[in-house]
Amino acid sequence: MRVVLLSRYPRVDTAAWKRQVASELHDDGVQLTVVYSRSSLADQVRAGVAEFGPNVAARYIKARRGSGTANAEPATSLAAWAGERDIEVALHDRLGDPQCLAALRRADPDLVILAGADIIPRAVLEIPRLGTLNAHYGLLPRYRGMNVTQWSVYHDDPLGVSVHWVDPGIDTGAIVGRETIPVAAGETLADLRPKHQQAAARQLVEAGRRALGDTVDAIEQGPEDGRQYYRMHPELLGAVERKLASGAYRWTGASCEELDMQLGLGSGAASAARPRTAG
């Protein structure tokens, strides 16, 4: 079985969850290829400045150092990890470029897994035999788009990760798996991020295995089943942080299955929903 991991910005692609996904699939005997977009230095600098402004240099050094302390082991990028294992790594500027599309077709993947990639052109979606999987840091179908962890806290809804088939819409493809994230009192958004990453890795590996084994099940979602959210305004973000810090965030709502019933969705997906256990 052949799987392509799609990512971007290879110089700073050091998140451990990506290596975990790659490692587990590699250990399963899957033939991996890692394809990067936005791989030029100029692209990475531009994206870094657009994201972090003048702090980009400090962020870069921190990302390369791992923990950010002087004595820490340098963080390993997915590209470096793959290189050490003779896994093919292809570097491209844009996912839709002819050379990139040609490289993807040469890889002839059964499955594509998004590991923090750009918006995927339709031409890329048509390449893998089984489809493309993505991990979304929110519980679909209700929360689509950006900053959905923050928006879930804002609305006192459960936090979680959803893995879904990618279609041309934004987070609108059929849901393959979900996992809720327990929140302890006093945890911050920064504390919750690694929890989401670990859940994403677990769910992607699990969904990937099921997809490759042809045992995947999925819940279709309709456009009206959820809302698309955008990056949160700093003042709302501050309110969310304060809500978490004070323990005022109360997920008193329903489980994923109950939410699905409210939305009239099926319950056929291998959902790993659990009730909130702390906080």
């Binding site: 804002y154 955008y230 305004h233 700093p234 003042e235």
Partner: protein, 397 residues
């Protein structure tokens, strides 16, 4: 709004000051326009943004000898004469801020403006087009509706029936000159065209109907709003949302259209009005988020058709989305509203140069095609309105 070339007289020293400021602002905006897209968007407000805006609106009143609010300040021509249309809806802004702060000076100014509008009202009950620069011009439906808002605000605030009677005469004029399909066009419409932004006129008619308890003005409003809805396409786009033929609709006209529909929903609970606002707003919000800025105009496929921002339209849309949040409770509109208001307010003039102190330019860069090199009074009026709404929606600020 549209540009005019009527100006007040200014001294040579003032002209030198304008040239210096024009040079500085043009250079500053050119650099900012180049660099800003490369940096992360920043949001937030100066704590004195609202007071500065209100201070500048006072100035627009002072420079006319307290006979209406000047149309605004031009870096080329200086202060403009008073503008009946926008003076009409500035009254409500001053009254509202006065109500919140207890500032009696604002109440006095609002009453003076309302009295001036009574003097300006034409014998047919309408309000003339353009500026008050000596020449009497035909009455125009949109301008009439905007002044009705001011009179209705004053009537609600003071109980003085002369304002309500003036609004009734104005409303009767609107009924008389309205076409059978609900649109206003021809001799009493800007460039003779039917415009969807007249939904704000329908909103004024609904307010009048509630104040007077009569059906004719409400029927006029619903007939017009039905026509506005008929102009909306499935993708949220409004046809006829233009000031003149041969142009692309700008965000200022879109915001006018949406606000009129939204406030009409608030008064009537007609869900069709709300749905029209929501569908168009969701497209505009997506454009703002994806592009990182909101271009001044679009075509009917929502392709941007301008390389500048209409700050007036942006801050108005911020207000529309904040009202939409208040109406629906959907926090996505709160988010978008705050962002739009903050992005626009970042261009408020914060320097000490008196003619522009606290004012919002028409465009960014300041030489953008909407009110180029100008600080229109309605831009700052909508800035003040949206800042007050933002404070209501985010009380912690």
């Amino acid at each position: 709004m549209r540009a005019t070339t009527d100006t007040t007289r200014t001294s040579p020293a003032e002209r030198v000051g304008r040239v210096a400021q024009l040079t500085w602002m043009t250079a500053r905006d050119t650099i900012s326009d180049t660099v800003d897209p490369l940096l992360p968007a920043t949001y937030g407000l100066r704590p004195d943004a609202l007071e500065r805006a209100i201070g500048w609106l006072r100035q627009t009143h002072d420079v006319t000898g307290r006979h209406g609010s000047s149309k605004g300040f031009s870096l080329l021509f200086g202060w403009y004469p008073p503008f009946p249309e926008t003076t009409g809806y500035i009254i409500g802004t001053l009254l509202e801020h006065g109500r919140r702060t207890g500032d009696l000076d604002l109440d006095a100014r609002a009453r003076e403006m309302g009295q001036w509008e009574l003097e300006v009202q034409s014998p047919d009950g309408g309000i003339m087009e353009g500026l008050l620069d000596g020449e009497r011009k035909p009455s125009e439906a949109f301008n009439t509706g905007m002044v009705m808002h001011g009179w209705l605000d004053l009537h609600a605030s003071t109980g003085d029936v002369s304002y309500l009677e003036a609004a009734e005469r104005a409303g009767d004029f609107l009924v008389r000159v309205q076409d059978a399909d609900g649109a206003w066009r021809g001799a009493h419409s800007y460039h003779g065209l039917a415009h969807t932004y007249m939904s704000r006129v329908a909103w004024a008619q609904l307010r009048l109907a509630l104040a007077c308890g009569d059906d004719a003005h409400a029927e006029s409003a619903h007939r017009h709003l039905g026509w506005v809805l008929s102009m909306q396409r499935d993708n949220g786009w409004f046809d006829a949302c233009i000031f003149k033929t041969g142009t692309h609709p700008n965000t200022h006209a879109m915001a006018y259209t949406l606000r009129g529909l939204l406030e009409s929903f608030a008064l009537t609970h007609n869900e069709d009005y709300l749905a029209a606002v929501t569908s168009c707003s969701e497209v505009l919000i997506r454009k703002l988020e994806v592009l990182g800025a909101l271009p001044a105009s679009f075509d009917s496929s929502w392709t941007p058709r301008a390389n500048y921002v209409c700050l007036t339209g942006l801050v108005q849309l911020g207000g529309v989305w904040l009202r939409l949040y208040q109406t629906t409770g959907d926090a996505r509109f709160l988010n978008a509203g705050c962002k739009a208001v903050d992005l626009a307010a970042a261009h408020q003039h914060t320097g000490s140069w008196q003619p522009a102190r606290g004012a919002l330019p028409g465009s960014f860069p300041i030489y953008g095609r909407y009110a180029p090199l100008q600080f229109p009074n309605w831009a700052t009026k909508f800035l003040a309105d949206s800042l007050m709404l933002r404070a209501d929606c985010l009380p912690s600020t």
